[in-house]
Symmetry: C2
Subunit: 398 residues, 2 copies
């Protein structure tokens, strides 16, 4: 028998194109249970909760819920507030005051840590509350889950934009030489790796991919670029924003510019970034014309290139969270479990929050080629089903 009481849901960390799909899943499913009385949204995640800044979503219409599914970025507001140890008792107090018995937090690594601590405190204090984490991150770096909602859509955007800009560069090779595209993902290279997914042959972009999982060497990079340019007359390079050199310094990272967020992570996107820097390095060292692009948050919020797989799965993890909670489960993060790869099928599962809190899942070495400048075949197998329907096959005439 599900406990009677109110529900709160929040969104945390950087948004995705489908994070509101997970919110929609929570809201739609919550409507089905009469033991769930009021439904509240935290405004700007745990920051809003601490300020008792709730939005009453109890009567949210199905029309609005459907609208959420096509609305990018966190409709409740995201946050980057790191919960301090002495915030937790206050959080629990506020939850009790509002008779919150269902707590859902849609977020990434840091949010799962917050979730875990709230869950443990509630248990310790004997306050019955179902606490479930709902995974979300374009970085795809949560452990245990096969992949993270939000990643597939950003990956599709990355693949499509790389394929198109690659065609552009190839067409303009009598004028342009090199294009460098800077791709999000912080310390994880999943998204940069995904830039390869629309490549069909050697001429297609990208020709080189550098992931933060491998130490970056400017010398090797210049050699790689030079070799491809000699062969094709143009080179398209995908760069993970978090690539670092042997000493652990971010490439192109300007220490004066560096901004550190509440979790102590360097906010790479707020500096000038590696792509602008490497474009200069190429010009100076190889004498080649180099352009760079950096789509920034457009990568994670572009609503016309959503993966249909991701769209469905983001909703699925939201509604599964509510299902698990009303069954009395708590202290979990919902996961996605791939049950078959061909045809691709996937179901929702769960894992204990303490197994995922603060753990980062990086691109494994077997997904990277031996030279460390491209992905391996296994990566395609893993990633292609996640980005949704097939791409149209482009025509090459020359």
């Amino acid at each position: 028998m599900a406990i009677k009481g109110n529900l709160v849901v929040g969104q945390s960390g950087g948004p995705t194109a489908v994070i509101n799909g997970s919110l929609a899943g929570v809201l739609a499913e919550a409507k089905k249970y009469k033991n769930i009385h009021k439904v509240f949204g935290m405004k700007h995640g745990i920051e809003g909760l601490l300020k008792k800044d709730f939005l009453d979503l109890t009567d949210c219409s199905l029309h609005t819920i459907q609208g959420l599914r096509v609305t990018p970025a966190s409709a409740l507001g995201g946050c980057r507030y790191k919960v301090k140890d002495n915030d937790y008792p206050q959080i629990l107090e506020i939850l009790k005051e509002n008779n919150i018995r269902y707590f859902f937090y849609i977020g990434g690594n840091d949010s799962m840590d917050t979730c875990n601590k709230i869950s443990m405190l509630a248990e310790k204090e004997g306050y019955e509350m179902q606490v479930i984490g709902v995974p979300k991150t374009i970085d795809n770096d949560l452990p245990v889950t096969d992949h993270c909602p939000g990643f597939g859509s950003a990956a599709r955007y990355t693949a499509v934009s790389t394929a198109g800009a690659g065609k552009d560069l190839e067409a303009m090779k009598t004028f342009d030489d090199v294009a460098i595209n800077e791709i999000m993902g912080r310390h994880a290279g999943w998204l940069a790796a995904a830039s390869a997914l629309a490549k069909n042959d050697f001429k297609d972009a990208p020709h080189l991919i550098y992931l933060p999982e491998r130490e970056f060497s400017i010398e090797k990079f210049l050699e790689d670029v030079k070799a491809i340019h000699k062969e094709l007359g143009y080179v398209f390079v995908s760069i993970g924003e978090g690539i670092r050199d042997a000493s652990g310094e971010f490439i192109g990272g300007n220490k004066e510019d560096a901004v550190v967020d509440a979790f102590g992570h360097k906010a790479i996107a707020l500096g000038n970034g590696p792509a602008a820097y490497l474009a200069k390095v190429i010009k100076e060292n190889l004498g080649l014309q180099a352009r760079y692009s950096r789509c920034g948050t457009i990568q994670r919020s572009f609503s016309e290139c959503v993966s249909d797989t991701d769209y469905e799965e983001a909703y699925l993890v939201g509604l599964t969270a509510v299902k698990c909670a009303v069954e009395g489960q708590t202290g979990l993060m919902i996961t996605l479990e791939r049950t078959s790869n061909n045809p691709y099928t996937c179901v929702a599962g769960s894992v204990s929050l303490n197994k995922v809190a603060n753990v980062e899942h990086f691109v494994p070495q077997e997904y990277i080629n031996s030279q460390g400048n491209f992905v391996a075949d296994q990566f395609y197998e893993y990633c292609l089903p996640l980005i949704g329907k097939n791409f149209p096959r482009y025509v090459r005439l020359i």
Copy 2:
């Protein structure tokens, strides 16, 4: 009676997402006339022609032609070669050698100039050849034509990316303050202006738009940003890449980096650009967090955000060019003529090449607000029909 002989078609200047649609229109229509014998493509435009580097497209299948319609960037290769006065006699010689009687050049301002000169020389020399320019440019800066194929799709991309990244910024306003997006268009602000097209209310992005058509003042810019930030807590700014200060210098333009193309145009996109620079200016002067993005050639080559209107019109101008030529017309550029705005209808027309060669069409002052920091209502009326089907309406909860 249409003249008997061969056809050549080329693509020039920067690519678009639908420039191959115009090529497809030429190829599909050419199949209908038995007086058109061989069909050749110039590889990399006039550069290829001068090298006699042709591709035989006579037997190009309808399947390939359909494939071209969804393939971004110039499938024949683009070029930025400025034809020299003493190239023209050679060009005519090569055209005669190959019995070219139909000459089609898909391009922008500079290409129409090339087209015009070839047309005049052929006429002067008494060589019967139908020369037709097919308009193309994401910059939308060709005169006479209501708009340019390629612009609508880039405009849609710009509108969708701005709306999404704006939602992202709004969600993250407790951490981020300002986002600046650098938009292509060289000296014309059409594309930067189009970033407003998915905005529904004051909270939506963009909040400020700066076009190259107006002199840019850093002081005014900082005042504008400060005022919006005070009101909303976040500010999304669209910047035309070609904005300049009172002395005519590009904002953020690094003279050492500046690259000049064959036409003497500064290749703005090869420098560091105004967005990165203005992000720094904001940090230093207002103490606000500022991100920047610069999608570069992704803006003009993104195949999953094509305007359906643009898709059809790009094809239309290609096939109309062939129709006009077989009717014996020459020395023309095909135009698009809007016959009604509600519902939007548009037909193909034509204009003498000498009226468009080297003429740039800028955003008129009545499309810009009095403060010079946003578009006026008339711009929406003009531009909305060009970007295709309606956007989904996003939901705002807080």
